[in-house]
Assembly symmetry: C2
Homo-oligomer: 325 residues x 2
């Protein structure tokens, strides 16, 4: 078995914590955060030692009507600058661009003119060639890049090997293992991480992990993959994210031993901004319906509909999932 | 590193699942369950393939006033029989007896006359000699026994070694690793489990794990320790248990590959009995205050008081914990 990198007491200076609250959490409230929420999260992340903050997607305005979504679905340069100015902090800024859902040649300016540091390209495994085209373009513009291969629990190992080899030979900086369906266990997430890390070592890349909490394993999977050498770790305040949510920032910062990370500011943000958001009716987090789609390695869409309808007839829901396998 | 026993696809016929809903969950509602609740849980556990159901504590009626607690704090023989009759099922029945809080020589009849199969002796690590005295007595009565060493995250390794050696030489059947404070990580729980399993192999004992969910790791720690050979696994319906709760039965049964385990009946029980219990105001489960005591390796009592007072001033609470270290 691959050795763990460091132990439970050691500082891993290669670790980068990325806050994805506005991006993945935006999937819970149609990206309709107040400027105050985003500004206070930005400040809290800086004080907490977070390394990257993701402001949202840069989605195509041709495909998605800006009147129907909050602005963080599009992450206009001026909207980010309205929050961060020139971002005179050590924290870097990222946006996500989905393969097939953005106009990347039109909508990105050179990094030298942008307050954005990193573009994360999200794709399914059959879209790797399209992702690499985008990644190479973003590199010519001067951005750091990641490739976030989603729904990895449904890919077979030949696909994963091929994708890693192609990405290894690309300009991408970080390859992300993404458990979109929250169906990985620490042991399976760890085994995939070891495979990703082999490519990383061969080609000089870094590996990231993005968890979903369908089986209450988001934090466990994050620290398990980290222990083998994964270094880019996604988390969100109070685990806010689609469906069952993500790895909670407060769990992750409380675990990391590097004294640069500080729990207090995130607790303060949760108390003052996340609790009111929840009280206003925005819903996310572990629940039986998400557990079931996670156990069955399925997209959470049926569980999200079940949640939206305020249902709690778990047996009926479970039966319907099994019938539609 | 010790090898894992089996893999994510294999059936481990040595696994025993123990439902502790009424016992650990009773700490949330003063053991005041209706007979209907306990009866339906008993039926659901049998249908789900659960191996043991724990009915509660057998506490001293001299030390605890029966008028002030529900009957499952005392688990009188006739109260159990009132639910299970002669228990004509494959599922076994356990009760817990705390060192120093029970009248074990007066309150237990011989196993041949009792519907109880197993007595679980709970103690802190300095109480091992007292626990062994009880264990030997229960063996003369004919019961299966376990020793549940609580708060293991605060014991040092010399204490753990000594305790395991003493228990190895006793008549105990199963030695439980108990993460009372929910402060173990999969890596630390796994390392402790390997140590316990060494003793188990030397003396022909079995090892169990009892988790708390302070850091959302109850299920992760359970399956991690299991993977190294731990075979007695505690879980509760909807994770009902003191403070942050335990490992959820529905997560565990959904994970185990042995076809004897069946999720449907537990889902039905949750839908019909756990949801109304929660709606009636009984509170348990992961929350920031429990995360903080877990991270600090502390008893959850302050977090329980914080919860009872409906507080959400996490920063103030965190500061107070750090001041009282």
């Amino acid at each position: 078995m691959a050795p763990r990198k460091g132990n439970l007491m050691s500082v891993r200076s290669d670790i980068k914590v990325l806050d994805a609250t506005v991006r993945d959490g935006g999937l819970c409230n149609n990206f309709e955060f107040t400027d105050e929420f985003v500004t206070e999260l930005y400040k809290a992340n800086i004080k907490s030692g977070v390394d990257y903050m993701e402001f949202g997607y840069r989605a195509s305005k041709k495909m998605f009507d800006p009147k129907k979504f909050g602005k963080w679905k599009f992450c206009a340069e001026e909207d980010i600058r309205n929050i961060v100015g020139d971002n005179v902090s050590d924290m870097k800024i990222s946006v996500m661009a989905d393969v097939g859902r953005c106009d990347f040649r039109e909508d990105f300016i050179p990094k030298s003119e942008s307050v954005i540091d990193m573009v994360r390209v999200a794709c399914y495994i059959h879209q790797i060639p399209a992702a690499i085209e985008m990644i190479e373009y973003f590199h010519t513009l001067g951005y750091e890049t990641t490739c976030n291969i989603m729904a990895i629990s449904q890919a077979n190992s030949e696909q994963v090997d091929a994708a890693l080899e192609m990405l290894g030979q690309s300009s991408v900086d970080v390859i992300y293992l993404v458990d979109s369906y929250g169906s990985l266990y620490p042991e399976s997430a760890g085994n995939l991480a070891k495979k990703y890390l082999e490519t990383a070592e061969k080609y000089g890349k870094l590996i990231g992990f993005h968890a979903h909490n369908n089986q209450n394993l988001a934090f466990a999977n994050t620290i398990e993959t980290m222990s083998y050498g994964v270094s880019y770790l996604d988390a969100t305040a109070s685990a806010m994210g689609r469906g069952a949510g993500n790895c909670a920032m407060e769990l992750l910062l409380g675990f990391l031993k590097n004294p640069k990370y500080n729990l207090y500011s995130i607790l303060s943000f949760i108390e003052n901004y996340i609790l009111p958001l929840k009280a206003s009716g925005v819903v996310w987090g572990y629940d039986i319906q998400y557990m079931l789609t996670g156990q069955l390695n399925r997209h959470p869409r049926e569980a999200m509909a079940f949640t939206a309808e305020n249902r709690s007839d778990y047996c009926e829901f479970y039966t319907s999932l099994l019938e539609n396998f």
